[in-house]
Subunit: 216 residues, 2 copies
DNA sequence: GTTTTGGCGATTGTCGACAATTCCCTTGAC
DNA sequence: GTCAAGGGAATTGTCGACAATCGCCAAAAC
């Protein structure tokens, strides 16, 4: 079942399954050589992470996204991640900051290694996941996981817009720097800027896609 | 299936099913006169709303809560509801404010009618749901729904501590007043205070429960 | 030409049975 | 008396089949 969920998840994030496409239980089950039960379970899991939507008696569909939905997503990310960072500072969770710094090194490494986009995106995701999980409030991580899949998808879109992969790593540095200085305001602004830039990029890109003037 | 989910949900919120209790699929299925499939589906739904937890190959358990977890919950509520209110002001969503004011009237009405605790708690929940749904960002509402069940449970705990039910309605008024004045800072502080007081109450109550010096 | 209604095909919803796994209790060794 | 290994009961995981429901298309009525 977990295997089915992972496979479907990858297929959706990489775009193999087009947004809006119907997820026929029997078709998926046949293709993966299992029965419909584990497919349903897996689909329910993906529903939680926002990858698919469910309509009663009609089945599962790959969630369609829009510029507006992505804009809303980034608004939520800003709120959650700023709150998480604030918590890190207020509770003096310095080892969280260390882990974030280490993850930036990882980002540089995968960039230097010329890794494929998915690997880079996952390293990027991990940075933000570490921020939420290291906040000390598991509810923040829970919210992050809820929107993780859609976020991953959106970062995938943005990643293709960067010419130099090292730049992706660099955009995270001001956040860690501000955290190291223990400066709440600077941290908030760093995150607001980091996510704001991404929000701008992904929203514009999607508006272009919707207008038909750009490729996904 | 929806029927099963609703029944289980009520049983948990009202305390018929004790925290930590195992949710045996076959037992629940037999009691409700259905097969295990819809029970599993319903349990998955309840998992999303945080009412039950799932352990692989071990099944579903009624989620146990703690003073710490409730404290974390209220921290998240503060973050989300403040963000939602901020959005209401920045986008000039005055009809949301009208609906919130109307909901306070509802709160007074159920108080005057001497309604039972569950009805009052649901009216209270509706106020906060309206704030999130009326924010214009559906993601905020999504987060609210994720934590709705646990929140409802916690408000149930607090509600019993109030002697006069009208006081519950009154604690919401400063929020609407600040919103009407279009004052972002005052709104933020009103919500922080409103949720902060509840956080204090519920956390203390649960610490007492954990210490064995109070009843749930 | 438009709208409503009927039926057909396909898909989901539910079921009972079997396989796989886990947990607990017994048994045995030390 | 304590601990480890084994076996059995109980529970979850998966399966294939059937029932219920939905959407589509054609046919008929207006």
């Amino acid at each position: 079942m977990q295997r089915v969920a992972t496979l479907l998840s990858k297929a959706i994030v990489t775009g193999q399954l087009a947004p809006g496409a119907r997820l026929s239980e029997s078709v998926v089950a046949r293709e993966l050589g299992v029965s419909r039960a584990p497919v349903r379970e897996a689909a329910r899991l993906l529903e939680n992470s926002g990858l698919v939507t469910y309509h009663a008696n009609r089945g599962f569909f790959v969630r369609e996204t829009s510029a507006e939905a992505l804009n809303d997503l980034y608004e939520l990310r800003m709120v959650i991640e700023i709150a998480a960072a604030q918590r890190v500072l207020r509770h003096g969770l310095t080892d969280t900051i260390d882990r974030l710094a280490a993850q930036i090194d990882v980002l540089h490494e995968v960039a230097a290694a010329g890794a494929d986009m998915l690997t880079q995106v996952e390293a990027d995701m991990e940075f933000h996941r570490l921020l939420c999980s290291g906040s000390g409030n598991p509810k923040f991580l829970h919210v992050f996981e809820q929107i993780a899949a859609e976020t991953e998808f959106s970062i995938m879109v943005i990643g293709r817009l960067y010419d130099d992969p090292h730049k992706i790593a660099e955009t995270h540095e001001p956040i860690v720097n501000a955290l190291r200085h223990g400066d709440e305001v600077a941290t908030r602004e760093a995150i607001r800027y980091h996510i704001g830039v991404a929000q701008e990029l992904v929203t514009r890109q999607f508006r272009d896609v919707e207008a038909g003037t750009a490729e996904r």
